[in-house]
């Protein structure tokens, strides 16, 4: 799937784009580009996540959309209108910051009422809206408290209520759950997703947490080194990573160097470092490029008498074995010195001694070839 096709994939019509980045570049010093050649459409009503490690350009992209940074080159369209030069206060975008950025000198209700004053909503109408917004995040009773008197999760909800109270069509979030503990984070993910779908708002969400991205998003843009590495829905991203970076970043993958030998019956035949051959799904066109074979640990199983024919078989020397409750994590050294990790369900696992030879198998369809 190319970036161009993706423009239309979310809702079918390219005109549905609420946000459009065209050839956007951003450099702070004029030498190094933090964002290089960004082309991205966000459809109306979509939950789009920008996922990537720190320094990948995802936050800078969000800041440009929010109006806090200006693109060095290129255009950003919001609802069809260019906004590169529009200050944040004129964009009507809800923004939830990483540390919530609640005004400490105001009460919760005053915080939520803040954007209403700039939209000419005062008095009873404003009180009504504040009440409704706080109700949506189950904080009706907390209106008179100061932000410092609330827990992290409650502060996060206030920030959400404040960003939603003026009914913006677009809401941006910059790692909003980063400071919360794991359980609360998972609950908030679901709450945010519910709010987004029930209110029909478009959300652009920045995170470095892949499970968060997979849980909430309609589409995920994986950022690395200032570029979108892949833009796809969570399922495609997980099952069909397009390059080595995405394969390594989303979930866990064993990546091994290999070279293409030929093709047979729709599968690619590759030669591993030790000369053995494996079959892989044929996704790569050029035979000259350096290739990487990627296979997820959960797709590697123990080889035995019941192993169906046609599977890739290989063996390795067990190096590490860990018991993890529902599965065992078995690392072996195979293909002449490469570490391959397998996730063996407890039901079919046995005990392994370090140093013993283990026979493993994986389906050709689960082995993906990547360039680079």
């Amino acid at each position: 799937m190319t970036a161009l096709q993706d423009r239309t994939s979310a809702t079918g019509k390219p005109d549905d784009a609420l946000v459009r980045f065209t050839e956007v570049k951003k450099s702070y010093d004029g030498i190094q580009y933090v964002v290089k050649d960004l082309n991205l459409d966000v459809a109306k009503g979509e939950f789009l996540t920008m996922l990537g490690p720190s320094g990948s350009g995802k936050t800078t992209t969000l800041m440009m959309l929010g109006g806090f940074e200006r693109p060095t080159l290129g255009h950003i369209l919001l609802d069809g209108k260019p906004v590169e030069k529009l200050p944040p206060e004129k964009r009507n975008i809800g923004f939830v910051f990483q540390n919530y950025a609640l005004f400490p000198h105001m009460t919760v209700a005053e915080n939520v009422a803040f954007p209403l004053r700039y939209r000419g909503i005062r008095g009873d109408a404003a009180r009504e809206k504040v009440k409704r917004a706080l109700g949506r995040v189950s904080l009706e009773a907390m209106g008179d408290r100061k932000p410092a008197q609330l827990s992290g999760g409650q502060q996060q909800r206030v920030a959400l209520a404040r960003a939603l109270v003026f009914e913006p069509s677009l809401v941006l979030m910059d790692e909003p759950l980063g400071a919360l503990d794991k359980q609360l984070r998972e609950r908030m993910q679901i709450e945010i997703k519910h709010l987004q779908t029930s209110l029909g708002i478009t959300m652009v969400y920045v995170t470095h947490d892949q499970s968060e991205a997979l849980t909430m998003s309609d589409r995920i843009a994986v950022f690395h080194d200032g570029r979108i590495q892949q833009l796809a829905d969570p399922k495609t991203l997980y099952n069909a990573p397009e390059n080595r970076f995405v394969a390594g970043f989303i979930g866990e993958n064993n990546t091994m160097a290999c070279s293409l030998m030929g093709r047979e019956t729709g599968l690619a035949v590759v030669k591993m470092a030790d000369g053995s051959t494996l079959k892989a799904s044929d996704t790569v066109l050029s035979a000259d490029a350096d290739l990487t074979l990627s296979v997820r640990p959960e797709n590697i199983m123990l080889a035995g008498d019941q192993t169906p024919p046609g599977m890739n078989l290989f063996s390795g020397i067990a190096t590490d074995v860990f018991f993890l409750g529902d599965h065992m994590r078995l690392s072996v050294e195979a293909f002449g010195g490469q570490t391959v990790t397998a996730r063996i369900p407890i039901a079919v696992a046995r005990t392994f001694a370090p140093g013993e030879t283990v026979h493993l198998a994986c389906m050709a369809a689960d082995c993906r070839l990547l360039e680079g």
């Binding site: 929010g66 206060e89 404040r162 003026f166």
Partner: protein, 269 residues
């Protein structure tokens, strides 16, 4: 502070010596200030200690004498105007310097606080010659301008210190919610950096109210400030009224210091 029960006698001895020494140093620092207070309540027209008889006659003289009263009013006006100008300018400067894209930050900062470092006589002579060109010597405006230059660095320093703990995302949040620059400043930034602004204002007030060298150069009889009046009073005729004025100044300084302490303690909480 207190030694454990197993301390040896020599350790106890050392500890006592340290405490005695510390008390002596403190006395050395503040005793000259507090000599003034009893002298101001003495009935004698001479500076003799111990005081033989107490009276308020020098305070009566201070508040009854139009020259002293005029000097106090002059000092008050100059200090209030200086505080307003220095606080405004200093806060704006600190906000500008705190911006991440501010060029040559260290250099500009050094330039801004230079009036604090340059010897005061040089500032006074410089102001005298420079302001003379514009007819600002012997005017209240000239005095206020010179004092503003001296007081602004204090505001820059205190506001910069507060800004270092200020979360700039608050301003961004205000912007994203619809507040333009000025509105975001008054409704969000200023309330959150207020302790620093007020500390700066207190320093600015004290700087102007206590300042004597620049005031000596720039004022004529009509703008004479309290410190100048005291200074010339000492030269002309030594008179305990000066002690009464000095005690008033000391009381004001203690008051300002107390206000500052309360303010910083609130901020820490």
């Amino acid at each position: 502070m207190w030694l454990p029960s197993y301390a040896t006698p020599s350790e106890r001895m050392m500890r006592i010596l340290v405490v005695v020494f510390a008390i002596l140093v403190m006395l050395f620092l503040i005793a000259p200030l507090f000599i003034i207070v009893p002298l101001s309540f003495s009935k004698d027209p001479f500076f003799t200690l111990p005081v033989r008889e107490y009276s308020l006659r020098w305070y009566a003289d201070l508040f009854g004498n139009p020259r002293w009263m005029e000097a106090m009013v002059n000092s008050g006006i100059a200090a209030v105007l200086t505080t307003i100008f220095a606080t405004t300018l200093g806060t704006l400067a600190a906000l500008g310097i705190a911006r991440p894209d501010f060029p040559a930050r260290r250099f500009v900062m050094a330039l801004l606080i230079s009036p604090m470092i340059v010897p005061i006589v040089i500032v006074a002579v410089g102001s005298y010659l420079f302001f003379g060109q514009f007819g600002l010597t012997n005017t209240r405006a000239g005095l206020v301008f010179a004092h503003t230059a001296l007081a602004t660095p204090f505001v820059v320093i205190t506001v910069t210190a507060t800004l270092s703990t200020y979360d700039t995302n608050l301003t961004r949040a205000a912007n994203s919610l619809g507040a333009s620059g000025l509105s975001a400043f008054f409704r969000v930034t200023l309330p959150n950096i207020l302790p620093g602004v007020i500390s700066g204002a207190i320093f600015a007030f004290a700087t102007s109210f206590d300042e004597v060298v620049v005031a000596l150069f720039l004022t004529a009889a009509e703008q004479r400030t309290l410190p100048v009046q005291m200074f010339s009073g000492i030269r002309d005729q030594i008179n305990p009224t000066i002690m009464a004025a000095a005690t008033m100044l000391l009381a004001l300084s203690i008051l300002l210091f107390a206000a500052l302490t309360i303010l910083t303690r609130k901020k820490a909480r």
